[in-house]
Amino acid sequence: MSVWGKTAVVGAWEHPTRFAPHMTPFQIHAESARGALADAGLTIHDVDGFFTSGVGPIGIMSLAQHLNLRPSYLDAQSIGGSSFVSHCLHAAAAIAAGLCSVALVTYGATAASERFAIGTGGAFASEPPDNFEAPFGPTIVGSYALVAQRHMHEYGTTSEQLAEIAVTIRRHAGLNPNAKYREPITVEDVLASRMISSPLHLLDCCMISDGGGALVLASLERARDSRNKAVVILGGAEAVRHLEAGERDLLDVAARQSGPLAFQRAGVRHADIDMCMVYDSYTITVLTTLEGLGFCKPGEGGAFCAGGRIGLGGALPINTDGGGLSSNHPGMRGIFLVIEATRQLRGEAGPAQVPDAKLACVHGTGGMLGQRHSGVTLILGRA
């Protein structure tokens, strides 16, 4: 049984808030569910598959109660910020297999109003590997910085090349009225921003915001009844990388496994992709992801991201919403990657629209790139 081409994103909604001290995370989940179901032309009573993450080990049951859901399929995937991209992959499989018919994916978080210093607040230490890492003070930024430093060493990648990624994505944020940071920045601004964990400067790092969003997925047949243009899941794959038994190549990112598999499953070529949504927790995440997905060879990411190629008007526009670097990042950004790709494929991205976008590649990265991280790739297309 093939999973691909049978499931569509039929509803997508991004919460406009970036700072919501007056709201709870569950409230953001609920408002996002309302937005995405209204977008799909469905009601909460149609939902029989429920997907969420970032709500605590068994928090999906609390959230199901908050929304008074009685789903027959539950998925509380917990692989960091890519979890919501993974939900879409799993929903495609579940819907194709007949395990559920309408899947609701929700996200909500108030990291900014809780003043949660995600990247530099110290390690999350609770499992065996942490005992051999946390004593030395790895921050999340530091974990990604280890990869950046190694990439520079092996390939001569420069801070200017990384900075150009942040500059491009900020330019896209200028087109998004909801983006948190919209003022243009220059490469010099990035290099002059304070060093957080070398070689990553403040402006190489995503922000901390509040926010949330939701997606509704259903079978392609059901999607054809929807008022929206259906956005179909054509292929996808996920992977994990870790420190192995102590021999990890830091530049071997999860996208190297999930990317080629997703392209193969979708039966599309890189040259066919009109736009890409990649998790931009840090500039180095974008660079290693584009290499891993196969848009360029390992080591070529710095040159690939230069010269406007990844900007609107370039050959492969990425993160047209302004990304986590400039639009929003409440801690787990994966859902926004799928929401923006859906807008693009529907032709609803406004001034950030990629002309006639037919095929999008989405890649979520979760966790700590230099320790344990997940990668989930989706290929999405117009029906």
Binding site: P128, P129, G137, L146, E244
Partner: protein
């Protein structure tokens, strides 16, 4: 045993899979493991070989020499103990025996650290039970 100041950083939890590793560090000896069945070396210590799932394990004493595989100079970390020591160098050292371990590079200015730099282990006594392997220029 060095004089112990109040130790504010994360203290590793000794468990049955890693006890031998931590006890050796208190003696200022650094060990990794090798599978007696398939020969695969491993770090960090664990009871079952992730290559062949054998429990037949031997401890191998490391020379303590290696090179810097990657590093980052940390300028911001709110965690207790670390925020008082900024900037500090988080690194991954590849031991001469081939296994890579996360550590701190100490004994030199942070701006002097380079990938490929030869380093040697130095032991930091943190609590009566916990000594950490750190590395300094060799």
């Amino acid at each position: 045993m060095a004089e112990m100041r109040p130790y504010k950083k994360f203290v590793p939890r000794i468990d049955e899979e890693s006890r031998g590793y931590w006890e050796a560090l208190v003696r200022h000896e650094l060990y990794f493991q090798r599978c007696r069945e398939c020969g695969k070396k491993r770090f960090y210590p664990r009871a079952v070989c992730p290559n062949c799932l054998s429990s037949n394990t031997e401890w191998v004493r490391a020379s303590g020499r290696g090179t810097v595989y990657s590093f980052t100079v940390t300028h911001q970390n709110q965690a207790p103990g670390f925020r008082e020591e900024l900037p500090y160098v988080l690194g991954i050292v590849e031991l001469g025996e081939g296994v890579r371990i996360m550590t701190n590079i100490v004994g030199c200015a942070p701006e002097q650290v380079r990938i490929g730099m030869p380093v040697e282990v130095t032991f930091e006594d943190c609590t009566p039970e916990i000594t950490l392997p750190k590395f300094r220029p060799a």
